[in-house]
Amino acid sequence: MGFEITKETYAGAIKNITIGKGDGALTVGGQTSYPFYQFEGDMPNKPIIAMEIWDMEPEDWPEAAKAPFKDVLNDPVAWAKKCVDEYNAQAIVLQLKSTDPNDKDASADDAAQTVKKISEAINVPLIVWGSAVPAKDSEVLKKISEVCDGHNLVLGPVEEKNHKTIGAAAMGYGHTIISSSPIDVNLAKQVNILLENLGVSLDKVIVDPTTGGLGYGLEYSYSVMERLIQAAMTQGDDKLQNPMINNLGNEVWKCKEAKQPVDEAPELGDPERRGILMEAVGAVSYLMSGSSILIMRHPESIKLVRSFIDLAYA
């Protein structure tokens, strides 16, 4: 008797969502099975990797992460171009670190100018990640929406607390939203429902389930993503059928072991290769739990993960 694989029955699929504009636009999501389970469904769009840049020179990045960008760390436009031209970035994520009220507290106008310049300088989708301080993000992302009218930026994180302002602005000026919640299926659904009630189409929403670093609570994010996908696909919950994004580089490179130099942790070997593989293994975990967009930092880990995706997808 022949062996038949026990197949999952799916009641729903992940939405196809297009980010960016013109020939630079890209579609993510669209899968009709669990991540990489191509024997029982399709994965029309490979997960993509968005390269991370900051709007101010990072002070706490380890040497290994800074080295490839040494010449551009204080110039976000040049940095973005380098990612695209030299490393073939599929998308760029600008982390608006300078706007953090606990830090430099840069103004919404300044941030909007930076975003506009970058957006005009590159031909790949641009994702803009705020300071994660809800009130400040409200102000900053709203301004950016206006100034970059029609660019179809991806703006986040948008939380329950600031969904109204950012939601309305994004809707008005044609941007996509990252709906964000702290590792919880119900809260993720809640933010999406609130956005929908406001009039935002869920076809313009990417979900950020909150990302834990490798060894720093990755398992919580991993499981909540599996549960979100189950709700979306096997239970057919149409409020959760959105592609997911993971702000991974930021979490991984913050870990103590990703930062320690050789003299502090000789047993951990070469700090550069260690950090690269920590980021890449973290990425694989998130790919297996359903990520459609991974935000990553080091060109080498990005290269590795892209080849991994190609292999797994072949």
Binding site: F3, T6, L214, G215, Y222, R273, R274, L277, V284
Partner: protein
């Protein structure tokens, strides 16, 4: 299929003698059904009933014990497809390959290097468990010598990898005492390898060229009386291998397929041409159902991330790792040393104490029970509020140990400063840095 309480009850003596610790046989049966009791607690069940119960309660995927000594481990025994449904029990076993033509002096060096790959984290020692001795075709003696050296001189446990029965026999003679896994029985040699594993009472890997082709082989071997099997569906291409892992896990758990109810072994070392890519592929099988994952080599930079991933994926989702509440002395503090407070989430504690230690500044670290939650999570969940923290500082006994009245709280908990102050009149509440990484500079700058 699991039996219900009533079905189990029918097999018990029904005397209600209470020796099992509960008032009735029915109560005991219910506990058995829900996994809260062990059958051994009832001294009166008949052998026949025992057999039936054992059969019915056998886990859908057999747990297989591997090796001996400090790196003894087990694989299999999983009961769910997704970790949030219950938990994953036996972390993916990590292995590297050693060829039987490795020169013994070089092996000596290699073992020393491999042995150093151990990492302390959240109170656990993270390290790999296995070395695969791979037959390079240079004879039984060479194979046995390499296996023997690893078995005797290192903590590592072994997989003996050859399809030549004479070579395997030599390996078992020299290294069998350490309970190696024999790799592998195939369609061609199943009788011979099965007999060898049975005689030596060792676990046996079974290799076929598809999931389907594994079934008659494991049936044949279990028919011979073998129980401890590990299965390899033969695919060396990652897409197919992932499908196979899922097919096997679902067959065992969802379709009750006993012939596939065994842990798996996968070979990233045969799926990529460099260790970095092997590492990523291994990462995929740590998440998706690899029982044993075999790499070509161990390097600290590739092992460490995999060990972290494994730690995360195999953490029990119902129980965050914790440390006990109390006062921790770091770098021999005295009555003038600073006092810091944090939560009892193991990860938080280890990061914070690690940084204080690294600063070389003597300090008292107070760990408050927050049900295993991190600072921000505990604060958001109301387990690290100002009054609680204040009360805890009063009660924990630190006031008898120091002369000063200053408490350093985590930067992320700045919001509780006012409430702590209210609870601790006369004390100065200092808000420390947010990230523990900034603690050394912060502590040193205080002098």
């Amino acid at each position: 299929m699991a039996l219900t309480g009533i079905q189990i009850f029918k097999l018990l003596p029904k005397t209600n003698c209470k020796e099992c610790g509960v008032p009735t046989c029915l109560a005991f049966a219910m506990n058995l059904a829900s996994g809260k009791a062990e059958l051994d607690s009832c001294p009166y069940v008949s052998d026949e009933a025992k057999e039936q119960l054992a059969e019915a309660s056998a886990p859908p995927i057999r747990p297989v014990a591997l090796g001996k000594g400090v790196r003894k481990t087990a694989t299999g025994g999983e009961t769910v497809l997704y970790r949030h449904e219950k938990t994953f029990f036996n972390p993916t076993v990590l292995a590297a390959t050693v060829s039987s033509d490795t020169d013994l002096a070089a092996l000596d060096t290699k073992l020393k290097i491999y042995n150093a790959f151990q990492y302390e984290r959240v109170g656990l020692n993270l390290r790999p468990e296995l070395l695969v001795v791979k037959d390079a075709g240079n004879g039984a003696d060479a194979f046995a010598a390499v296996a023997e050296k690893i078995a005797k001189e290192s903590e590592f446990n072994l997989v003996l990898m050859t399809e030549d029965a004479a070579v395997m026999k030599a390996g078992i003679d020299k290294a069998g005492f350490k309970r190696p896994l024999l790799y592998a029985a195939t369609e061609a040699n199943a009788d011979e390898f099965g007999a060898m594993a049975k005689e030596a009472e060792l676990p046996l890997a079974v290799k076929a060229d598809s999931v389907e082709a594994l079934i008659p082989l494991t049936e044949k071997l279990t028919g011979m009386g073998l129980k401890d099997l590990v299965i390899d569906s033969g695919s060396r291409e990652i897409k197919q291998a992932l499908e196979d892992q899922v097919a096997i896990r679902r067959a065992a758990l969802k379709a009750g397929n006993k012939a596939l109810g065994f842990p798996t072994i996968v070979f990233p070392c045969e799926m990529a041409s460099n260790l970095d890519m092997e590492t990523l592929i291994a990462g995929m099988y740590v998440a998706k159902y690899g029982g044993i994952v075999v790499m070509s080599d161990f390097a600290t930079e590739s092992l460490f991330p995999l060990l972290l991933e494994r730690l995360n994926i195999f953490t029990d989702p119902q129980r965050p790792m914790t440390v006990t509440e109390g006062i921790f002395e770091i770098n021999n503090p005295d009555e003038n040393s600073p006092v810091l407070v944090t939560t009892n989430f193991a990860l938080t504690y280890f990061i914070v104490s690690g940084e204080i230690e690294a600063s070389k500044v003597p300090a008292w670290l107070l760990v408050k029970d927050s049900e295993g939650l991190s600072v921000l999570t505990a604060w958001a969940a109301g387990k690290f509020g100002g009054d609680d923290v204040g009360l805890f500082v009063k009660k924990c006994g630190i006031m008898d140990k120091v002369k000063h009245q200053e408490l350093i709280i985590p930067g992320y908990a700045a919001a509780i400063a006012g409430d702590v102050e209210e609870e601790l009149p006369g004390w100065t509440i200092t808000v420390g840095p947010r990230e523990a990484a900034h603690l050394p500079a912060f502590l040193k700058a205080r002098k």
